[in-house]
Amino acid sequence: MKCFNSLDINSYKIFVPIKDLDVLFSLKVKNKVVINGEILVFRDQVHKKIASGDMDGISKDEFLNSAVYYCAATEPKSNFVVGSCGPTSSYRMDKYTESILSLGVKIMIGKGYRNADVVELCKKYSAVYLITYGGCGALISKWVKEAKIIGFSELGVEAMYKYKVENFEAIVAIDAYGNTLW
């Protein structure tokens, strides 16, 4: 099935980790973003560890100007490098958000609502929150070209991964000016 975008959707192509931070200020709520490059992938348990100061030996450089995707995929199958890998609900990461933004993370990708603290943090750190297609894990798997564990391997499905992605689609839900989808 051919999936087409209507012409009325503004879209931006972004390379991560971000080299030119100005692009973050061009992004507005409801803009479509197409991401290429390497993204960090982790969720609840890794956030908890990072917030408590446990980095599992991962260099802070990994986080600088990076994008973080809240996800725990299923195991890979056949020709795919990851299994189904849709976003998880982001609100559970709200209380840990400052600990990752203070490391230099500029883009958070997940699904659903974030609280007012996260909106303020996006302004403070000039960061953005994007949502991608919740419940579409099989489709999103096609956008992931390489996947490797880079830390916290003892957490099993919740370990920290790095994905190389091509044309990973998302939508701005909180911009760096503090405007939100809600």
């Binding site: 975008n5 199958k77 849709g86 998880t88 419940g135 499905v157």
Partner: protein
């Protein structure tokens, strides 16, 4: 009397559980296609992605959603049916095997507080009210954390009126919708006891989209709630639009003179539901 043999049950139910992870129900696909006709922009794009995901999953056998959830089995056993095996044991075995063989995510932890030992297990509900003689109906609903968490329960005073209950349902659903993946289906259980109220809300999700409560009043209430919720402009994946709720199912149960339990649970668009008759 009919004896259902272990092999027959095992083979059919195992196949049912596998299919449920890769194929959305036809009625859901149709409802999404209808919604595409009335949406534009980001909302339309999101609905197209849902269809594209369904097609990808059926072709590649990557699960529809990475949250492979908890399989909830609902068995309805007709008159004269006997099992020559332990139902709990066989359903647990099927679950473990399917998740292992199909490389589905180990989405459960054995201890809820200490969060160790990822594995998979089913929940099992058995009823005996099937009108069909010598048949056993097996349904499965795969519930991810995002849907399961989006649940609300309240004990109203028995003097509460219809408007109060409706207001509660609308407010709760709008609030819960922010955290899940719309378009959703809403299951509502009114009356019963604490546990049967929630059970009714869950079990209502086994209905097909468009299947109304047989009682005219509740049937109209379902349609009214759906319309009201679709005015919220939350839209597919929260991106705005006319399609927030695909349907609302209400189940009612007799209740105690002193009680009025109301349960509400959301089902995300990854509506993994399937049934067979054995």
């Amino acid at each position: 009397m009919r004896i259902i043999e272990k092999d027959e049950f095992y083979f059919n139910v195992k196949n049912l559980l596998i299919q449920t992870h890769y194929f959305l129900p036809e009625d859901l696909i149709l409802a999404i296609k209808e919604a595409i006709k009335i949406e534009e922009g980001l909302a339309r794009d999101a609905l197209l992605k849902i269809l594209e995901n369904a097609e990808t999953s059926s072709l590649t056998k990557l699960p529809l959603c990475q949250d492979t959830g908890i399989p909830q089995f609902f068995l309805n056993v007709g008159k004269g049916i006997c099992f020559d095996f332990n139902l709990k044991e066989i359903l647990e075995k099927i679950t473990l095997e399917v998740y292992e063989e199909e490389k589905l995510r180990k989405s459960c932890v054995e201890d809820p507080l200490f969060r160790k030992q990822n594995f998979n297990f089913p929940t099992i509900f058995v009823e005996y009210d099937s009108g069909k003689e010598e048949k056993c109906e097996v349904s499965v609903l795969i519930r991810g954390g995002g849907s399961e968490n989006m649940t609300s329960f309240s004990l109203f005073l028995p003097s509460a009126n219809f408007q109060e209950v409706v207001k509660y349902i609308i407010n709760e659903v709008k609030n819960l919708l922010k955290f899940t993946c719309p378009p959703v289906v809403v299951g509502v259980g009114i009356g019963g006891t604490v546990e049967t109220s929630m059970y009714a809300a869950k079990k209502s999700l086994l209905r097909k989209i468009g299947e109304r409560n047989k009682n005219e009043f509740y049937s109209e209430t379902e349609v009214f709630l759906k319309q009201q919720l679709n005015l919220s402009n939350i839209g597919p994946l929260g991106l705005g639009g006319k399609t927030t709720v695909l349907d609302v199912f209400i189940e009612i149960l007799p209740t105690h003179i002193a009680t009025l339990p109301v349960s509400v649970t959301l089902q995300c668009h990854s509506y993994r539901r399937r049934s067979i008759e054995i």
